[in-house]
Symmetry: C2
Subunit: 297 residues, 2 copies
């Protein structure tokens, strides 16, 4: 497991549930990339080698280092979770080789205390990458929005504990099948309606009630449907931010991820009176994979 | 509008979004009934007269008095909401006749203050019916679980204000399409797992995070999937009860509705240290429609 993998070019892959992205890396720099919707749930059992060949056809016949759900029990090869607290060296040491495939999978992290359990896959690579690249201090509270937002507490460059809030998934469930269906299709924007939602989410203890009130307000002619997406997004993100700040304390927050989400969380943190800085998730991921490759080379 | 409707037998109908129930009432007693899944969303525009004929074919060629979503903007004829505070006499006075059909629709109630809006259709008939029948005191906090749980504050037999918590709908969304899909199909039961969920829901301010923790617990081998339905039900109902008790104050709660739901709320209220009594929703509905018929006869 601790033998050097290679030196030189490689392909970095972020293989999630519904999408995958891959970058060709030469001399530490991404030189080519592609993205498609071939997430792990779109791959039949036994079909991963063929799907990996597609990547090499596109980007070159190179070793692969992969992060994300590809290492889950529904992925290609399961890479067991590393328990927190955990640092980047533990991740590199537990890298899971796919035998005979010149492919390695980065494990995820887990956290459990007497009451709660939590897991992540993919964000850990971004967290350690951001620290390695100097984009995030080694002691920080990081907020990583996505389908499942992760609040992670870093100390000395290690993830001490973290908590997942399924904000993005809940928004999608509401958009696709709830009484708010049809009102949540336009993109949320960090304007006045979003900020009203955030304020209510931050103060409220009644998210499930506040969501119904959105529908009632429209039925009674007190609210407009074209503001619903931004308001509901604000409501959910406000509740999410309240959870993160209550659990991990206030102070500057590093918001990491895709720009369309980090800008909403930055706005919500501003409403909460908290300063934030933004780290691009793609940059952090590539830095994280590069750091692991360097540790193992 | 205030002309007498009739005296004698009639058909009482509870016509909801996904189901309808109808009872033939002779001399104030239900003598026959039927139920099917022909909710308002299953009826094409213009097809309500034919669907009403089915009811009369089954139960007799009698006048109909209907409560529920049949009076919504997606129903047969819209019966505008009555603003709270409102008593049973306001409901009877605003009964909406469907011209030429020997059919009347009971309006719903609305509530709005500067911040929130709320609506109900169907529960108001049960609330006033329970008071009229002596099943519920005229001053009471009522909890009416369903797809959308209603907390209603009654004073002097009038609904002063109310709040909807979309607990049932959220459970269904999670069951049908979330990361917990496949784990929530068995009926929730008020045992140990349910009570643990209630305790967490009562104390927690992080429902959206606690839900993810259910999945993580199973992935890490710390929890069993066969307890997930009861635990998640407890979590949602616990958060619901916290909302209701915080907003309307503590004291005895009258829980009204279908037995499989009222028993879960009764258990959750017990965990919260609150006494409750149960009123059967069907009995309350029939009493409510009877009371309206008597006021208008």
């Amino acid at each position: 497991m601790n033998a050097p993998m290679w030196t030189g070019s490689y392909i970095a892959v972020d293989w999630g549930t519904t999408n995958r992205r891959a970058w060709r890396v030469d001399c530490g720099q991404a030189t080519d990339e592609f993205e498609d919707d071939c997430g792990i749930t779109a791959v039949a059992a036994g079909a991963f080698p063929a799907k990996v060949s597609e990547i090499r056809t596109r980007l070159g016949d190179l070793p692969l280092v992969m992060a994300g759900m590809i290492g889950s029990n529904r992925g290609w090869v399961e890479a067991p979770y590393i328990s927190c607290p955990a640092g980047p060296e533990a991740l590199a040491a537990a890298l899971m080789e796919v035998p005979g495939e010149r492919a390695w999978i980065i494990p995820g992290l887990s956290f459990a205390d007497g009451k709660r359990a939590d897991v992540m896959r993919g964000e850990e690579t971004q967290l350690f990458g951001a620290v390695a690249a100097g984009l995030c201090p080694p002691d920080a509270l990081v907020c990583h929005p996505g389908t499942h937002n992760k609040w992670a507490s870093l100390e000395g460059g290690r993830v001490i504990r973290f908590r997942t809030v399924m904000t993005g998934e809940l928004f999608n469930l509401l958009r696709q099948g709830s009484i708010l269906k049809g009102w949540l299709d336009r993109p949320a924007e960090p304007g006045a309606a979003f900020r009203r939602g955030v304020e209510q989410g931050l103060e409220g203890r009644a998210l499930t009630a506040d969501l119904f009130s959105v529908r009632a307000g429209v039925l009674l002619g007190l609210a407009e449907t074209d503001e619903a997406a931004s308001f509901v997004s604000g409501l959910l993100i406000g509740a999410d931010v309240r959870t993160g700040l209550e659990e991990f304390g206030r102070g500057e927050v590093v918001v990491m991820g895709r720009p369309e989400l980090t800008s909403l969380y930055e706005a919500a943190l501003g409403v909460a009176g908290t300063t934030s800085s933004i780290v691009d998730g793609e940059t952090a991921l590539l830095a994280g994979i590069k750091s692991i490759v360097e540790q193992r080379s």
